[in-house]
Symmetry: C2
Subunit: 456 residues, 2 copies
């Protein structure tokens, strides 16, 4: 039955691409107020499209910032599940503009890729969903599932208003599960299920010694050096085996199962040496780099500074030294508890003769994970494989996507991350593009998926 | 016999102070080319004074920078020793000028102190020597010792040309011993012999990981963090007992003798907590802060930096981290050998996954020390005590005075550091001053000293 929808997509490919290009031509840069009208225009494009599809309650919902596009489809009947579809229509700025080979807002196809700002992140992927809805409605007269559409205009500026909206209008966005297409595959044409994201927390440590920089000749030998004190504190927190040595840090970590280890092994992994210029990879003792990046917590010093930074030499004992630290957390770990453990450790390891202050970063998030063998995930893998003709790999990601954590914490619904981007898409950079392969096969995947989950 | 000279100084005190004021009124700021003529004028003042005293070979010796004033006195006869007297006539800038309570170049006496730029560092102390020569010549018709005068105009800008002059004109400056009055006493009216200075060496360590800053979510767990790597390296170099843990670092250190420990104990020491705002002092295990600052080598991180230093959080693995390190060395230690030991240690402790580069700082110097029981030192202590009426204390200093190291390395002659400044003199700061007590008693000390060493 889904074949008809697929045929529709094939037959109307040119018209759909033309319509996508119209969407991509709107410079909906959310961070720059010069483009405020264009951001509105992109929202209007979606509203019009959803109205054409006869979705209900189509609204451009005003926020303190850019509007959120909401719509519902309830035609699948009460027995069919309801999916919350999340995406965003705003895009990143285009600087440096001179590095673009074609106008970022005049979409152009070169070598099988569609070049335009937003082609991959996230207008292209949002459009694919709407086109699939169109294909079903035009061929079957109805969708296999009920839908709640939530497409925001502020993702690239931190989704400033979304959390409050989701929290305050819980009923409105309630669904059986969520689908988000704002991520990628590990390689082109490699079906990829992202089934976990890391959480996040951070602290800043400031070590203060003397109340001003001191002459190292007159005071060296009587005064503790704050940089050296901070180095001792930091090196007590993670050893050279990349094991975090903070008491209790791993206590609540959900272990990587043997099944997961197999999944991780199957996923093609980036050649880190090649892509980053390092001499060799390092990872936590007992874990491969892929296992560590995907499934084990990390501890990174993001910045450190103290004393003299200029040319040559200045023979001082500096007054102060500071380190900024963030940790990526895995399921089981509580960000606030981890912050407390970090603070306790620092205070315990602070040497005499200096004062040590720990500032807890406000921004923190729990990790997110859905079981890879959850039926909704397994169906997604099947759809992918059916369309791309290749076994789906399952990965977890070291990064965090705030909206995922919010949907998880507010609604506790399964979230399916169905991304079709590729590592070559150059998100946020000049010459962003999206492979037409992904456009075609991704829409097929979605057609199969909605058909497969109509009874889940 | 020296009493006549002392009487002369007392009787002519007003005239001498007036003459000193004339010298102090010349703004001989060596670092600022605006004052080039004034620097010359200060040199001319000295040339005129030395000519009035009938010194021989009085010359304003041109250099690539400011001139050096040279003169000789050979009237003491062949059996008398020859002293090389070093001082400098240039001064520091006066900024911030609005913090001066009186014009820095209009000397003014307040509460027993003479306020003027250079009053203590070093014009005041240079003038005392010339005044003492005058007193001897006017009363005895001769000096007890032969003299070579070397007064430079570039001390405050690093004595740029002096080393080459001393090296190339070795014969000219050759003497039996040197006397320098460009330092201070540990407290006002506390006779102080400075019998040792520390040496100096330094390295800069740069740890490089990835060739650009990386997203901590995508790469954390596969890539070594350069800041953490550097922290491990640094913390392996000095422990929390303030013991330097670099292999071989202490091998050649001349130990502090029991006799020295007693001398150090006798010297009044600064209240570091009070003066620097630290919570408590720390020093090498087994040594007091005074022993460590005076007689044990030190290792200080003068600056460290890497990664993000702005507000809030940036979740990166930084590409690079750098630390600047200097060590103060004691007699026995060779700066180049120490640099090599530091470099070897760093290379040995560099963890995998990062590249570590060590840059050796060019500027380095050996420590200087004269035996406190050397007859020239003992005579100096006696002279001090006779004049100030108080037992002389013996101290070593954690700092370095380049000219001392140069005279030591080029001539290998004993150097007597006869300083009359006080900790309250505010060298290099607004409201520099010099106590008139030091002026009077310091000149007396010099009268006694020349008389005592005429047969040493």
């Amino acid at each position: 039955m889904s074949e008809k929808a697929i045929d529709y997509l094939k037959e109307n490919r040119d018209e759909l691409l033309e319509k996508l290009n119209e969407f991509l031509s709107i410079p909906s840069i959310s961070t720059d107020s010069t483009y405020k009208q264009d951001v509105e225009k992109a929202a209007d494009f979606l509203v019009t499209y959803l109205q054409e599809l006869s979705f209900e309650k189509v609204t451009k919902q005003e926020t303190a910032g850019h509007p959120l596009v909401y719509a519902e489809y309830n035609g699948a009947g009460e027995d069919a599940p309801t999916v919350l579809f999340y995406g965003h229509y705003d895009v990143q700025p285009v600087d440096p503009i001179d590095q673009w080979e074609s106008d970022p807002f005049k979409p152009e196809v070169r070598n099988g890729r569609l070049y335009a700002r937003g082609a991959s992140d996230d207008k292209g992927q949002v459009f694919m969903h709407l086109a699939v809805f169109e294909a079903y409605l035009k061929t079957e007269g109805k969708l296999p599932i009920n839908v709640k559409v939530c497409i925001e205009g502020e993702e690239e500026i931190g989704s400033e208003n979304l959390y409050d909206i989701l929290l305050q209008q819980k009923e409105k966005f309630q669904a059986d599960f969520a689908v988000i297409s704002d991520s990628g595959m590990v390689a082109k044409n490699q079906p990829t299920i992202l089934y976990g994201l890391k959480g996040f927390t951070g602290i800043e440590i400031t070590v203060t010694g003397p109340d001003h920089d001191l002459h190292s000749g007159m005071y060296g030998g009587a005064v503790r050096n704050p940089i050296m004190a901070l180095s001792h504190i930091l090196s007590s927190m993670k050893d050279n085996d990349e094991v975090i040595t903070v008491d209790g840090f791993y206590d609540d970590v959900e272990p990587i199962t043997d099944a997961e280890r197999k999944l991780i092994k199957k996923a093609p992994s980036e050649d880190y040496v090649q892509s980053t210029g390092i001499t060799e990879t390092v990872s936590e003792k007992g874990y491969t780099p892929a296992e560590h990046t995907m499934g084990r917590p990390t501890f990174e010093v993001n910045g450190m500074y103290g004393g003299y930074q200029g040319e040559g030499t200045k023979t001082i004992i500096p007054s102060e030294a500071t380190a900024k630290i963030t940790c990526r957390l895995v399921p089981g770990q509580d960000p606030e508890k981890i912050q407390q453990l970090l603070e306790d450790h620092v205070n315990k390891h602070a040497p005499s003769g200096v004062s040590v202050k720990v500032k807890k970063e406000k921004l923190s998030a729990k990790a997110y994970k859905v079981e890879p063998n959850h039926p909704l995930i397994q169906k997604a893998a099947e759809s992918y494989t059916k369309s791309f003709g290749k076994e789906t790999v399952f990965v977890r990601m070291g990064g965090s996507i705030p909206v995922v954590e919010w949907i998880d914490s507010i609604y506790d619904m399964p979230i399916v991350l169905l991304g079709f981007g590729t590592p070559e898409d150059r998100l946020h950079s000049p010459n962003e593009s999206f492979p037409l392969d992904s456009f075609d096969k991704g829409m097929e995947t979605l057609v199969y998926y909605w058909d497969m989950v109509k009874q889940v």
